[in-house]
Amino acid sequence: MIARLDAAPKVTGQAKYAVDHNFPGMAYGYVVLSTIANGELAAMEVTAARHTPGVLGVYTPFEPLELRTPISQMLGEGWVPLQDKEIAYYGQPIGFVVAETFEAARDAAALIEVSYTERPALTSFAEGLATAEDAKTGPRGAPSLSVLAEGVESIEDALAASEVTVDATYETASQNHAAMEPHSAVAVWNADGLTVYTGNQGSHGPADELAQALNIEHSAVHVVNPYVGGAFGGKGATSTPAFLAAAAARNIGRPVKAALTREQVFTATATRPATVQRVSLGARNDGTLVAVRHDSWSSTPMSRSFIEPTSHGTSREWYATENLAISQKAVPLNIPPTTFMRAPGEAPGSFALESAVDELAVALNMDPIGLRKRNNSAAPPGEDLQWSSKHLDECFDIGAARFGWSERTPGGRVDGDWLVGLGTATAMFPGLRFPATVGITLRADDTAVVATSGADPGTGLLTVLSLIGAESLDISPEQVTPRLGDSALPPGGTSGGSTATASAGSATMVAASTVIDELLRLASSPGGPFDGRETAYADGRVFADGRVFADGESMTFGEVLRAMERISLTATGSTAPGEERTKHSFGSWGAQFCEVRVHRLTREIRVSRLLGVFDAGRIINPTAARSQLLGGMIWGVSAALHEGLDVEANGRFANADLAGYLVPVNADIPEIDTHLVEYPDTLLSNVGARGLGEISIVGVAAAIANAVYNATGIRLRRIPMMLEDLLED
């Protein structure tokens, strides 16, 4: 069987992404970026650019395209390019050239001379720590929080009273989503308004933001997003090309296509912040945690767009402890905007916490799995709401058996020139849901359409919709046409927070039962085929007299509709997180296992084996689930060994391309596998799924660092790991 419904168009090159859309008369836009990190634009000399053959328009903050600042429901106040002359980071969009061809636009852009009134830029995270400020209260609560046992005055006291303590500082680098598809848009105006083809994580948000920015009616904006070449959090906000293409297209009265170049993606979108985290753990000699302290610093741009909630994403919830104190600071810098990236908070946070737990296991001379099991939490510390469904111990047991954990020795082993070590770590990602509306249309030809505006940027939502739709309607998946990626559809299924399956899935179930009720009502209504009789529904059929049995008097839903001379019957279903949040805590859990080999002489690190065992609720599509989980684990390898943006003193990224910003290639990837323990979590939603797009990246970097320690006795506390950190003097 084909693993996903959109596989055939994708493998044959037929899938059309945003820039694959072409229209008669279309012009091409090229974005111009700043080359200083702090200051003000003094002047932009555009005469030469404007006179380049083929140039149709040159827009700058001196001659801007009119755009208003939109407020988004999910992301708060947005940012639109070219509206003011302030420069807050290197690589900030400051101009847009539109021409007959891409090359003409690019060549003309190169002719623009920019002068600045420059101010000193603060670009170094290390230097910025001195002026750190408390993070704003975010969705995860106040920046600082502590839970102390009765009679304990402070976390310092709790740590001081602990029999064994570890205390260390960890660093993680700033990263970019580096989705294969650069941010892009094609904007077309016609009598009905504006249509924008642009890759995003849910077309409703951009449609709303574009309407606000362009000051036009909501109903006049149509955002289409048929295929998305990866997002990972980086396509949540409306992109600069989408705003500029839409505004410029209105200005010149022609369709406009705009895409960022690969290099531009690194600054003209948003990145994952860099973090510094100090973790102190206190335990009894038997391994019982009594004190957890986790202080975090996150880089953030001057606009304070986002901080990486590392303490809140990990230590806040993961282990049972009597005393807990976490804090979150923001370090404002002249760097490009920051935003969520796959497992925001949890991914870098787990590198610190799970390394620290391993350090504690060493200090206690305990098995790291035993230590983790001993401190398994039934609920987040200081809270009454128990985890709805948690099978972490089972994950560790299965993983340990499959991975050969019992053969691990404290000092690793040697295989020829290679030092071999094993490491493990916990993975966790909260079980969340977003509000979602799904529409189901039953059609007279006995097929059904399941539709919502969200996106499938590779996650598999399209296929999930068809599977859950088929199950809820009790028909075969072949009868279901799922639809996504169009703001004209009911709003739901935004790709983010690993929520799409639980959110759109449960809304699909509601929509299905509503449309079935409607169908039954219709069938037994006056003039209906079962006029005045009781009806029941099963197997895609309406049964007479309310009884479902083989050979019973029945009609398919299509037959009912045809009998009533109807083409279709539509209903929507909506769900939102609610009551369940007052009864339980929700999270997916997992155990990561890793084997590394470190070369005795060159210190090269090779990850040779990886296994992740996850407890993520019910699994809807096993093949796609496996691909998602393996993908996340490879992200973890990449974070540990490769990925990191290097900021030069002037604020320029030194490695803003895929030759310098390394992500693994196929042959870098070791024997890697996943296993799922399947316990449907129907307390979270009727679907029973908790989502698994993000959990599998969590803990991998720590498992690798822990394995490196096992192999070499050297503790690496910053990622990406630098081989020189393993050099012996």
């Binding site: 060549d107 989705a179 990866g230 993908g631 390394l662 196929n666």
Partner: protein
């Protein structure tokens, strides 16, 4: 995309290259296939079917590129499906996973993509592209395009190329375009006149004489690799570490020397092999030792109007050779340092030592101090330790985001220890 090229074991081979680096004009008259041409959603090609069934396509954006790289390997005539385990990067169907090292998947589906690759069978009768291998490919045509402003020329002969270069010294020579294509894409470079030399027969010879082995400057690295078939162990060790198959299918030796990059991978190996560069100009040919070729950062003794015609490697080859590339990513990455070793050891004594280094100075350099510290000395641990100390001090390595100067220097020394350890193992084995 796939291009029909002359094959080694069949008349034609389907070779995968990077579409984004190939100028369209350079493909005039050649047969090209893309993923759209392999199959349709209704009738999937076997490669497409495996990728679809195994979940190898997620967001799908990288998929067409993977499909083409995978199809090239699927059609590789000497891929042997013997069901045996060939180590971590070879499938039981003979599929070499390195064929995919030039493609990035960010989702990242490497495991299901590998599952798909290793599940492939052999092409069945009636397979159009398989049958196509029996007939020779269309030869690239001598071409000249101009849009009034810019010109693309593919001359038929070396003398025509040299003539043009002589007449118009501002001509941009292009070969595999794996460097120049990047200049065009990233820096917006333009050539008023691009002169394609990659198919000039005079630059494509692979000749073995008593005294030397000559490698044509316009041979692709893949062609050299397959043509030599392991005859030069040092180069055999180099090729798999040079970029990826996708790049090696276009990249030429002439281009690698032509860029004059201090981190090119072939110079350290060729320096160790004592290679000489054959330069050809309108006034004739001359030969320069590679050790004297580079004169400064991206500068060389090559004069305007001259082309690199070939590289000559003197024979016989040294007995103990190695190429070590230290890079952050295991494959398809730029070297932090690259080291080529060629040592003649006779009755336990180092008679002659040649060591080429890349990534530690403005040009590729020879490690002269280390070489003389080894020559005449017994090949023992103490000699090696002393020489390794000297090797660490060769060049002027820099700090950058790939590695610190300390690490680069340390790796130089370690590389000699690694060579020594390996040579001892070989003796024992």
């Amino acid at each position: 995309m796939l291009v029909a090229r002359p094959g080694v074991t069949s008349a034609t081979e389907w070779v995968a290259i990077n579409a984004c680096l190939a100028p369209a004009a350079a493909l005039a008259g050649q047969e090209v296939v893309t993923s759209e041409g392999l199959g349709t959603p209704e009738v999937l090609h076997p490669v497409q079917r495996e990728m679809a069934v195994r979940g190898g396509s997620q967001c799908g954006y990288c998929t067409p590129g993977f499909i083409c790289s995978m199809a090239a390997e699927y059609y590789r005539p000497d891929r042997e499906a013997d069901g045996a385990d060939h180590g971590e990067v070879h499938g039981p169907n003979g599929f070499d996973l390195h064929a995919l090292s030039g493609n990035l998947c960010r989702c990242t589906g490497y495991r299901p993509i590998r599952d798909a690759a290793y599940a492939l069978g052999t092409p069945q009768g009636g397979d159009r592209l398989a049958d196509r291998r029996e007939e020779p490919p269309d030869a690239p045509e001598a071409t000249e395009f101009s849009d009034g402003e810019r010109t693309f020329v593919r001359p038929a002969t070396l003398s025509a190329a040299l003539e043009l270069l002589h007449r118009n010294p501002r001509t941009t020579v292009i070969s595999g375009c794996t460097d120049w294509g990047v200049e065009v894409n990233i820096r917006g470079s333009r050539a008023d006149c691009a002169l394609a030399i990659d198919r000039l027969p005079e630059l494509r010879g692979l000749v073995v004489t008593e005294e030397y082995l000559e490698l044509g400057a316009a041979l692709t690295l893949t062609e050299i690799e397959r043509g030599l078939d392991g005859r030069v162990p040092l180069l055999a060790e180099l090729f798999p570490q040079f970029a990826s198959r996708l790049i090696r299918n276009s990249a030429t030796l002439g281009g690698n020397l032509g860029t004059g990059s201090p981190i090119g991978d072939s110079p350290p190996a060729l320096l160790a092999l004592d290679a000489r560069v054959v330069l050809s100009g309108i006034g004739g040919e001359r030969e320069v030792p590679l050790a004297d070729y580079f004169t400064g950062y991206r500068q060389s003794v090559r004069r305007t109007g001259e082309l690199i015609k070939a590289v000559r490697i003197p024979l016989p080859l040294a007995g103990l050779t190695a190429f070590q590339k230290i890079a952050k990513r295991r494959f398809d990455d730029i070297s932090s340092v690259a080291i080529g070793f060629a040592l003649d050891i006779d009755e336990g004594t180092v008679r002659r030592a040649r060591i080429g280094l890349g990534g530690i100075a403005a040009t590729p350099i020879r490690a002269y101090h280390t070489e003389s510290a080894l020559e005449g000395q017994p090949w023992t641990r103490s000699t090696v330790l002393a020489a390794a100390g000297l090797l660490r001090a060769e060049g002027t390595p820099m700090d950058d985001h790939r590695a610190s100067s300390r690490y680069r220097a340390a790796m130089l020394g370690q590389s000699l220890l690694k060579l020594y350890a390996r040579s001892i193992e070989e003796v024992v084995a």
